[in-house]
């Protein structure tokens, strides 16, 4: 883009028509490059959907079959044969419980960090983000095993909390910082308690943030693989682990994998549409405002 140097500019000023043409070519090139970037980002998703709609014969053809009669057979097979609905249900329960608990614990903590400038606490949460998740997993596994909590929602909710709560805290700190202090002071003068002010004034004013934080926490709990891989079992197995297990079925069923991949990703994509603005804020621990 910076190829047009000062020399080129001086020359082009002599002929306005040439200048216009050059600018048009430049614009065209920029749009072309943008299109290439977007195509690369979308291609795996496109391929995922295509694979899920093709029959096994078409999927295992040595030359990719781009045009074909789409079939829903793969979806039906995944849902019917593989207990997919049960795994979806497990995922839903875990993500909802972990997000709910994350809000109960995280909202007051975020408020406190925002109001009382508790940077030490913010730093502790940052450290949690730095530590490789497996570091917690060895002791967790041993403890949950001793307590007979493997394959229970208690173990999965508690561990998924570590994924969601930091996201909730980072997003909410900036929301709570924006709540005008005058409103809180006025409530104290009227005799409200700190806790009452928090629940009746601060929280309602921060509803958009709470919605965004909840959805982000839900998405990342839904996506979580490692904790569930070790701590879940037949009663609590969530979708990502179930889909991972599909691979070990011997013969690779391309269409089935594609359909399963689409089914896990779809809810995430829909939720992303709702909270786009906050995703980068959450992922960068508040360092970047979306």
């Amino acid at each position: 883009m910076s190829a047009v140097g000062t020399g080129a500019r001086r020359r082009s000023q002599a002929t306005p028509a040439g200048d216009r043409r050059r600018r048009r070519i430049r614009t065209l090139l920029i749009y072309l490059l943008m299109a290439v970037v977007l195509v690369i980002m979308l291609f795996p998703f496109y391929w995922m959907i295509l694979t899920s709609l093709r029959s096994q014969v078409d999927n295992t053809s040595p030359v990719p079959v781009w045009f074909f009669r789409p079939t829903l057979e793969n979806y039906l097979n995944v849902i019917r044969q593989n207990n997919f609905l049960a795994y979806t249900w497990h995922s839903l329960i875990i993500a909802t419980l972990a997000t709910g608990l994350g809000l109960v614990l995280g909202l007051p903590a975020a408020y406190s960090i925002a109001r009382y400038k508790q940077n030490g606490l913010a730093f502790a949460i940052l450290m949690a983000r730095l530590t490789p998740y497996i570091t917690y997993l060895v002791p967790w596994y041993m403890a949950f095993r001793a307590l007979h909590l493997i394959d229970t929602y208690v173990a999965l909710t508690a561990t998924h909390l570590i994924v969601g709560m930091p996201l909730i805290i980072w997003i909410m700190i900036s929301f709570f910082e924006e709540v005008p202090r005058d409103l809180e002071e006025a409530a104290y003068v009227d005799g409200a308690s700190r806790f009452g002010t928090f629940t009746r004034i601060v929280l309602p004013l921060s509803t958009p943030g709470i919605v965004a934080a909840s959805i982000l926490s839900f998405i990342f709990s839904w996506n979580q693989f490692l904790f569930s891989l070790v701590l879940s079992g037949p009663n609590t197995k969530p979708v990502p682990v179930a889909v991972f297990n599909f691979i070990s079925y011997g013969q690779i069923n391309f269409g089935g994998l594609g359909a399963a991949a689409v089914l896990i990703t779809l809810p995430v994509v829909l939720l992303t549409l709702v909270i786009q603005r906050y995703i980068v804020t959450g992922l960068t621990m508040g360092a970047v405002k979306g």
């Binding site: 000062t6 977007l38 530590t131 490789p132 917690y136 997993l137 889909v243 896990i264």
Partner: protein, 291 residues
């Protein structure tokens, strides 16, 4: 709440508000990290009685070729993926830093790779990498290039996996840098133009310095996460072929949850933790020093 309890709460709000979260952090994070250190000095098969071995596991790691291979793979993966993500991310940020129709839609598309379920992403890339039936080899052939073994080759396993990481995370780097670019005041560019600066100079002396701190944040975040990458590697190659793409993270996982050697796994994780913290601290120092 009774009057007294309410007054007690008001006086101690500062530490009562964060108390539940702090307890959760102590139980679920600080406790396990300390427990991990305790486990690491034991020969401890999960389910069996632990035996204290001092630094035996650490000595064992240092003479274990699989540990060194894992350490090498961890840094190989990170050192290839992260610089590529920064360069491409900067290019994409500059490219999209303009007004065009469909901005909202484009933003959503850019977000998709980083929010999509990693297991699903890994599966679809595994299918695309497939040496005989994968679409990537079809593309190579269409371009007149030789077919590749991708993740099935010991030499190409890590580079292939970095392609997935680059695809997944370049968008985040781009969005971080795009946010920074948009906060550069346009007057700066106008002033530079009046002073006779060309686009290259404007980029070098205005754009780059203004997004420097954002770029360092992106660098730190990406480096930390790349060192810890698990899902994609474990789903696509499980560290294979052989141990060609086995990172420290994956090796520790297998040690702990496939071979059930908790003591040695804990030791490996301490090495990984030290590596991650070391890189984070080192990179954070570049943030403070002026150049």
């Amino acid at each position: 709440m009774t009057e007294r309890a309410s007054r007690f709460f008001d006086r101690n709000a500062q530490w009562l508000f964060p108390l539940p979260a702090v307890l959760a952090i102590l139980i679920l994070i600080v406790g396990p990290v300390l427990a991990n250190a305790y486990i690491s000095v034991h020969d401890w098969f999960i389910g069996a009685t632990p035996k204290y071995v001092g630094l035996g596991n650490f000595a064992r790691a240092l003479s274990d070729h699989r540990f060194w291979a894992g350490l090498k793979n961890t840094f190989y993966f990170t050192l290839v993926a992260v610089p590529v993500e920064l360069v491409l991310g900067l290019g994409i940020a500059v490219l999209f830093n303009r007004d065009f129709r469909g901005k909202g839609l484009v933003r959503t598309i850019i977000l998709l790779p980083m929010v999509a379920t990693p297991v699903a992403i890994a599966l679809i890339w595994a299918l695309m990498f497939n040496p005989s039936l994968g679409v990537l080899n079809y593309f190579l052939e269409s371009l007149g290039l030789p077919r590749s073994l991708w993740v099935a080759s010991a030499q190409l396993a890590i580079p292939s996996l970095t392609i997935v990481d680059v695809w997944e995370w370049t968008p985040m780097v781009a969005l971080i840098l795009l946010a920074a670019l948009q906060s550069v005041p346009t007057e700066l560019y106008e002033a530079a133009l009046i002073d006779g600066a060309g686009p290259v100079q404007a980029f070098r002396f205005i754009t780059l310095p203004s997004i420097r701190s954002a770029a360092v944040i992106a660098l730190i975040l990406r480096s930390i996460d790349a060192l810890k990458t698990f899902d994609i590697i474990y789903v696509i190659t499980q560290g294979g072929p052989g141990i060609a793409s086995e990172t420290l993270n994956v090796f520790a996982f297998k040690t702990g949850f496939e071979f059930f050697r908790a003591g040695y796994a804990a030791t490996l994780l301490i090495f990984l933790l030290v590596a991650v913290l070391g890189v984070a601290v080192l990179l954070n120092m570049t943030r403070r020093s002026p150049s």
